[in-house]
Symmetry: C2
Subunit: 476 residues, 2 copies
């Protein structure tokens, strides 16, 4: 039995360790709203621990050197943590990590939960897949055992996301005294889709999650679909612990970061291209579910059907590379680049660049894109929440109109103040882009005021605190 | 107002017209259980009419020559019909037909209703698709208007399948006096999937079907999913006309056809290859939803994991070509052929051909495959009913074991007397093939007896009559 009263468990932790020139470790503390929300709660609880996976050989080596298992043994890490809380980095072997993370979490569970399969060909659950599944089980067990080692009697454990769907059941059996919360950051799907997974896997995943005292989702829609899966496939109804916590963004944090010098510099560069034209801005990972391809098709249909926008609008698309190790992602990005060239060939002039597409890891440039947006555009085929649209609303300097997929969790947060679209309906999306560009100023400003309120309704710190409060309630 | 008391409306009719050498029309009367079931009811009702689409230029030309619109004007057709009933062939123009049949029915509705899309890339509902949709509306209107012209006051109209989902509403508005039945031969899907279609299209399709007094499906599962779609997407619950009629096969008709000389000849040819070995038999169209690829993967996994079956089993796969005009179908068939070669390369010997794959339109050979099957194998990813598995049970001379996808409607008919599998779970399917091959004779015989009863529970003639009776009940 350990001493931690509060534990967060997630695949990726709040810091990363990279090798620097002299061979030493450099520790980088992660940013982003979600991490800072959890850090606030961890810092407030003495002796709290964040448990996460070592993501590469460097991190595994560092983790193995810590005899207590805790990273604060490493001076550079201790400096970075500044005593706020400790981090336990799990040195899961490289094969198990690859099986669990690439094979199951990102290639199976992500695809199931975003309905991304092409059922004539994928998924295929065969012997090779079974070996990956065994890796996912071992990965979850490693987390459960580390939590057991760290948790004080009656501790609170907050398990994150689809990487760790089995851990709650494992943990509950090993340590009935701890209070377990789990939060799923992805969408959920109908039982007719979820049951594509092998029967025993369906059982273990649903049963794994149901073992948590608190099961959190971003929206009532995902929670309801999860409850339907439990009823249809497990014959059980989730108890009162099934809850909805719609994460939003922290306006102060975003605006502060968005006003820094590197963003200002990127914004000046963008203005050189855009001039006085309107900007339809989007920022995504290069991720199949983000639907950039249909977004570009909609923009092309806008330019084809509404020539009045020629030379008066620029579509600015920032994509930061993600999952480039998966061939279908590389092929998708190549298709995006081809379509972007086609659009430029069809409409571009000496004076007007109709489309700016950047595929690069350039955070300041992406914030500049959002600051300059007249229309914030998100059309994911399915998305747990999508924080970018909320960040865009907060950062834009132009009282932006919002064109948003009805199948992003954020649609539930923003409602009809955004222009909601069916992400598969390119013509409807093109019409919504026109409506957004042509919206009378007074209507746009009134909507933007309401959108800004909704975009910050439950920022990371109160979002995480609300889960801790709810967990204390349901496990009382 | 017309004179017909009973009308069947379907895309494909009970006869086809082809050009023969001397330039004359030759009329071929169609076969198959479904057609014969409807023909029986039509023949019993004086002045009944079957309304269908002209499928090619030849048929369009013939249809245009009939001043009454009825094919009995053509002597060769009148001979073929022998006064049983009349046929009205709609000379829908070639573009409209292509838009409705290829563009919407087979490339959109078929894909939606079998959950075949790859959502990162398909579907794309853009301007081009909208033109196809307009063709589907015109095609349905042509049927509705022809029905109006033919139907006597208070006539009964039986509309068939996903080609004609809009016609019931159109017809009901034009002719409130007629009693409308509709039968969907495909599966249905969860509302979360169906709503990928554009919003107005979702509305028109569901509302179109709800206008029928009787809405029939093969299984309670498809009917329930349709009802959920209506509730979730239309805010309406279907009335008492939503009904289930699980079509089965006609044992006498099948056995008679299966005993003809051409089948006997094919069977002798097959026995030369197979010898005394066990046969795992399957017969399908080259259709994405039939899942031949994963079937071959399962057979390969069987041979890899259970070497005791080497040289003791042959997998016989008959595929008749279908939808070869769609590139994804051609690519899929090519992948099937590649995998078949791989299996032959991995396991074949001078004496043993582990796999017989025939991609050809050879009905006698396919019946021979079913007659010789020790295991009847169907693993569709989704299938309205699947009559082949029922025909295989009736035709096999070996008290066959059945390995069947739980996602084919026939699974509801056959239940646990078949070995039901998750069609995506190749390992489970391989294990079921082993279980089927290794099943003790007494168990296999007992199951086969029960399966034969279930396979003929509601053959085409009573199946269609049951719908007519139910329609009379609900519209009273």
């Amino acid at each position: 039995m350990g001493s931690a009263p509060l534990i967060v468990a997630s695949n990726r932790g709040p810091l990363s360790i990279v090798a620097v020139d002299d061979g030493d470790d450099e520790v980088r503390r992660g940013g982003g709203g979600l991490v800072s929300g959890m850090q606030a709660a961890l810092s407030a609880a003495p002796d709290a621990v964040w448990i996460c996976a070592a993501l590469n050989d460097r991190e595994r080596a560092t983790a193995r050197r810590c005899t207590s298992g805790r990273l604060s043994e490493v001076p550079a890490v201790a400096d970075a943590l500044a005593g706020d809380f400790d981090v336990r980095l799990l040195p899961i072997d490289a094969l198990t990590f690859r099986q669990a993370y690439n094979g199951i979490a990102n290639s199976t569970l992500w695809f199931v939960l975003h309905m991304l399969y092409e059922p004539a060909r994928t998924p295929v659950f065969d012997q090779t897949w079974r070996r990956q599944w065994a890796g996912y089980v071992r990965y979850n067990r490693a987390f459960a055992e580390a939590i057991v080692a760290e948790a004080a009697h009656g501790a609170t454990v907050m398990v994150q996301d689809y990487h760790l769907l089995l851990a709650p059941r494992m943990l509950r059996e090993l340590r009935p005294d701890v209070r377990i919360g789990h939060f799923t950051h992805t969408p959920w799907v109908p039982s007719e889709y979820f049951r594509m997974l092998p029967g025993d896997v369906v059982h273990d995943l649903l049963d794994g999650l149901l073992a948590a005292h608190l099961v959190g989702f971003h929206t009532a829609r995902w929670a309801r679909l999860f409850a339907d899966c439990c009823a249809d496939l497990l014959g059980e109804r989730p108890g009162p612990g099934l809850s909805v916590f719609p994460l939003s963004t922290d306006a102060d944090e975003m605006q502060q970061r968005g006003a820094e010098r590197d963003v200002n510099r990127a914004l000046r560069g963008l203005r050189d291209t855009v001039g006085e034209r309107r900007v339809i801005g989007r920022v995504d990972r290069t991720e199949l579910s983000k639907n950039v391809l249909r977004g570009l098709l909609a923009y092309r249909e806008l330019l084809r059907t509404r020539p009045e926008w020629h030379d008066r609008v620029v579509h600015v698309v920032y994509n930061y590379p993600s999952r480039e190790d998966l061939p279908e992602y590389r092929e998708y990005t190549a298709a995006v680049e081809r379509l972007a060239r086609d659009i430029d060939d069809e409409f571009g002039t000496d004076d007007w660049t109709p489309l700016v597409l950047e595929i690069a890891d350039d955070y300041p440039a992406s914030l500049a894109a959002l600051r300059s947006s007249d229309v914030v555009f998100v059309n994911s085929v399915r998305d747990g929440m999508n924080l970018v649209v909320l960040e865009g609303i907060v950062l834009s300097e132009h009282d932006p109109a919002v064109v948003l997929s009805r199948d992003a969790g954020a649609a539930d947060t923003l409602g009809d103040d955004a222009l909601l679209v069916n992400p598969f309906d390119v013509s409807q999306t093109a019409a919504a882009l026109h409506e957004a560009l042509a919206m009378p100023a007074d209507e746009r400003i009134a909507r933007a005021q309401r959108l800004r309120k909704k975009a910050v309704a439950l920022p990371p710190v109160p979002w995480f605190q609300a889960q801790l409060d709810a967990l204390a309630d349901v496990s009382r």
